[in-house]
Symmetry: C2
Subunit: 204 residues, 2 copies
Amino acid sequence: MKCLLNESTEERIKAAAAKIFMEKGFDGTTTRDIAKEAGLNSALMNYYFRSKEKLFAGVFDEMCELFFHGLTEILSQPLSFKEKILALIDHDFKIFRENPALSNFILNELHRNPERLIDIAKKASSIRSTVLEKQFNDAVASGEIRNIDIKHILLLIPANIQFIFISKPLTMKIHNMCESDFELFLDEHIKVVKEMVANYLFLK
Amino acid sequence: MKCLLNESTEERIKAAAAKIFMEKGFDGTTTRDIAKEAGLNSALMNYYFRSKEKLFAGVFDEMCELFFHGLTEILSQPLSFKEKILALIDHDFKIFRENPALSNFILNELHRNPERLIDIAKKASSIRSTVLEKQFNDAVASGEIRNIDIKHILLLIPANIQFIFISKPLTMKIHNMCESDFELFLDEHIKVVKEMVANYLFLK
DNA sequence: AATAAATTTAATCAGATGATTAAATTTATT
DNA sequence: AATAAATTTAATCATCTGATTAAATTTATT
């Protein structure tokens, strides 16, 4: 019986699982939660995915692709280093804005379960690109970019993009923001971030 | 029977709970985990704290005090706005460095359980201080501080201090850092952060 | 020293959880 | 149309979990 909505059962389970795992984390999510969200019977988790853990691993893998998408797509493009940074900021800000729980989900899971790091390094391989490193060094040598270790840059960018989403509940509460206030704040904040980063990193 | 170490049973349970909750979160922690860590019998959770939830609430409350300590202690001191920012950076960096899992713990819990925000606003009350706001406005008017909404500053500072700890597992993996490499990186990074923030915020 | 109160222990409970099972149903193949 | 294969369902299982219970032990009080 193919489902009512022309979506396969497997896909329905995965979509429901992604939603609930993102909200409640692995431990806080029961197979019955997922089944309810999908409108299916909980035995199907095991029929299609063998275990809750394997279902989670699949969801986590896909979310990591999304998390690192900016790095993999932007940093390998034929752009100057400066252009890459600005493009990365725009790209990542868009991704995280569309998936506000993503960062918290991935980073918390890495605290909870460091073994998942084993597979994750591959996805972040573009960070370790020697091409990028050489490009960076040339930009420093030409006086275009501030002379700091590239590792700091690769931390400053996600810090200033992701933290606002990680701290969203807190920020909204402290400043009494409704959802639309927060959206306006996001628009402003990304401008501040770009200005600050440019001001510090780009010397000419 | 007072325990071997001259610490009360209640304190031993709380300390063990804080440790395990910080590692595994609420859902991932069992009362038996805590009992084992404390070297006690799990029925004592209920004897002393009535429930796992109440034990957690006590631990969470204390961790929030620590999380907001910089804000409550530094922002109310008789310092210029600029001095406050620099003092806050140093203070917070020290707190989070000593408690690297703190930020992830608090912020993830607020995602998982937004009801905890009800009590949290009180602890962050110094953020909403009219004294601070006036001081900030004066500093802007005198051309000392960049003219942006203070909310952005109150986000940039924790972003650049806390994110490095939230993303610690990932950063260490990506850059193949051992613990001492990471400590060195921290020393460098805080310098970069201070320089970037000063460069952007402080106009004279 | 005897008694009361507090604390601790070990066993047990009721409900929840991931997983399994077997039957029912649907889809695919002959 | 009959049969086989795949999918779904509902019940059940074994284990775990927070909580309770009653007995044992320790500490405090008289």
